[in-house]
């Protein structure tokens, strides 16, 4: 059960100085953002805010300076993230690009695509979306059907033509690029073979983004249709047929951060302001959440330290995500138990309860559903 042990991670002293800087920035920026918008947490998007973070050097913090990064430690990046998340800062515009797309491009297209694009991610100017899920494939990526075929286009050289449809693509409507996982060959014995990743410019002719409105009446998901979308040969990321393995590495990033337990922080803050320390129910229930925050923060820091040391945090990240989901998912129900039916309409607590209650079912969709996560952990226990 070695992989199930998460070593505690300690923050270096310079991280605390950085924290003070971030707090000063947030103290200036956040008053303009009303509490309801803070509930959106890491799905709230504000291009201007992203640009300001880029200016301060808080995007691509761990990346090489050659790519516009700042060569700081993973733990310093961690501090920026957790401060932004608890404040409910609108970090959604750059989130995917900074967490996943930048690292992918530097790793799998270090000389071709990365030099052109990654510095712009670090400046908070370029946003990404991820083209993975399809109508008939949720967590089961082997069933992807969107297809890229080799093609030659006069005047533009060799390339690929993509046809198909991606679903549940978060932020496609504001993204400049998509990294799309598509089929470039047949399934072989390896059911995950024959897939490749491409960088797709969202302005390419033939690519259509259709909004999918969620049950909050908001627009975050999209359907993206590829109708003979042409991408140049150099936009193949990594090796042809390696798409699945490249995505696997990406998922660990997706499951490891402080965003994995903090999505409902604004509701927690509202509850704190509405609670009475003398109420035995409120004190115990909130205290258990505080303990979970304390423990999850340390687990999450531990995973960041593993990343910083170059260790594989896949299993540890799954543990954090599963434990974090328990806390996140329970938050609106906890608010209901403590305050349901007794809140003034329109108050900030009321707004946070309404928004978060309706938003929370989507949180389990991010980074793997519970059953799949626990299956990964069970594998770590040698049960599968």
């Amino acid at each position: 059960m070695q992989g199930l042990t998460i070593p505690p991670g300690a923050l270096p002293p310079e991280a605390e100085a950085l924290r003070a800087e971030v707090r000063a920035f947030l103290a200036a920026e956040m008053p303009a953002i009303p509490p309801l918008k803070r509930c959106r947490n890491w799905s709230g998007a504000d291009a201007d805010f992203s640009r300001k973070m880029g200016e301060r050097g808080w995007l691509g913090m761990t990346w090489p300076k050659a790519y516009g990064g700042h060569e700081r430690s993973a733990l310093e990046r961690y501090v920026v993230l957790e401060e932004m998340l608890c404040a409910g800062a609108p970090v959604g515009a750059h989130w995917v690009a900074e967490r996943q797309s930048g690292p992918q491009l530097m790793r799998f297209a270090p000389t071709t695509l990365a030099p052109k694009i990654v510095p712009r991610i670090a400046r908070g100017e370029v946003f990404f979306c991820i083209g993975m899920s399809e109508p008939d494939s949720g967590s089961d990526l082997a069933s992807i059907r969107t297809k890229a075929t080799r093609s030659h286009k006069d005047g533009q050289g060799d390339g690929w033509v993509i046809n198909g449809r991606k679903l549940w693509t978060s932020g496609a409507h504001r993204a400049h690029y998509m990294i799309a996982l598509v089929r470039t060959g047949e399934k072989s014995e390896n059911r995950h073979g024959g897939m490749s990743q491409f960088l797709v410019d969202m302005t390419t002719p033939g690519l259509t983004v259709r909004p999918i409105v969620n049950q909050l009446g908001e627009h975050d998901f999209n359907e993206v249709t590829f109708d003979d979308v042409w991408v140049p040969a150099e936009n193949l990321i990594g090796a042809e047929g390696d798409g699945w393995a490249q995505v696997g590495a990406e998922l660990a990033y997706e499951r490891s951060g402080p965003e994995r337990y903090m999505s409902c922080s604004q509701l927690l803050l509202e509850m704190l302001d509405a609670s009475d320390a003398e109420d035995a129910r409120q004190a115990e229930v909130i205290g258990r959440i505080v303990a979970s925050y304390g423990a999850l923060r340390q687990m999450s820091l531990g995973v960041a330290s593993m990343l910083a040391r170059g260790e594989n945090p896949a299993l540890a990240a799954s543990l954090v995500k599963d434990q974090g989901a328990l806390v996140e998912q329970a938050m609106p129900d906890t608010a209901h138990a403590l305050f349901g039916g007794r809140v003034a309409p329109g108050s900030t607590l009321d707004q946070a309860m309404r928004y978060t209650t309706l938003a929370v079912p989507s949180f389990s969709l991010r980074g793997g559903t519970r059953e799949i996560l626990r299956g990964i952990i069970a594998k770590g226990l040698d049960l599968r």
Binding site: W168, V213, A344, T357
Partner: protein, 362 residues
Amino acid sequence: MSQDTLTDTLIEDSAAKLFSTQVDKDRRLRAETGEWDAALWQQVADSGFHLLLASEASGGYGQGWTAAYPLLRGLGYWQVPLPLAETMLAAQLASAAGFDIPDGPLTLIEQGQGNQLTVAAGDGLATLSGTAHAVPWARHATAALVSLADGRVALLDLQGAPGVQVQPHANHAGLPSDTLVLQQARLRAVAANPLALDRPVWTLGALARSTMLVGALESALEQAVRYAGERVQFGKAIGKYQAIQQQLALMAGDVSAARVATQVALADAPGGDQHSCAATHFSTAVAKVRAGEAATRGTSIAHQVHGAIGFTHEHALHFATRRLWAWREEFGSDAAWASELGRAAIAARAAGFWPGITAKTF
């Protein structure tokens, strides 16, 4: 429809027919924009459903709450966007109190539950002042049946009445849940509480919501079971995975518990041939707690099974789940009713516990 044809089966059949054919997604969505569905309301009124519980003497059908089960459950199951439950209860209490039943949709106010309302003696009739939150459908209601903290019941005109200001709000389901600001609004009529039941609006309102929760739970469970049978992942329907089966089985148990508790509470509520209120508080509390708990666990399971598709506005699941989130907190949350039950049980101590459970007197 003549009175004696309103038998239980007939109510069930005609409710099912009306709701299943007339209530569609479009109607639900329009109601959420604040539009009043006069046509649908007229069909309900033509069926006499809103007067089911009102006494025969006052022009109603004098039925008991058990007869109302198919209607109230149907409001949840088909997600009918109308104040039918509120009007039924208001009409029952109005007729029992000897008031003329106002025409049109009615709403309900319980003084002292999340509102600050004060009664003052006016010239002739008393007046009501203050703010009442979460008054369901207030903007469309002609009048409100008010249960006063001193035990009396009263009738308050709403539409265009002087001193009455409506601030629109919506509940989780997007349905009207308005704030009423009252400045010496005249009560049209005041009478002694006709039932041996404290807080008649609050308690019977909770009973109505429990029944509506059961209907919405059944809808969410059926949708989740159907989707689990259709959706294929890793080569088989997700409903074949043991983890999904275990979750849906748990939800089925919760729904069963809520349904039985609610049906018993309906039988224990005053109306029709049932005159005793002895078990009404206990049975309603049990029903609202269990239905609320089932809503909490059930919304989570139904959404977990559905994945992303269930989170879209396009899919019908949210019409059920948003009602579950709204109704679990209206007329007292499960936590609030549980606390009442708990205080009574603790006061009864060990010796009084089991007699209280069997006599249903907490």
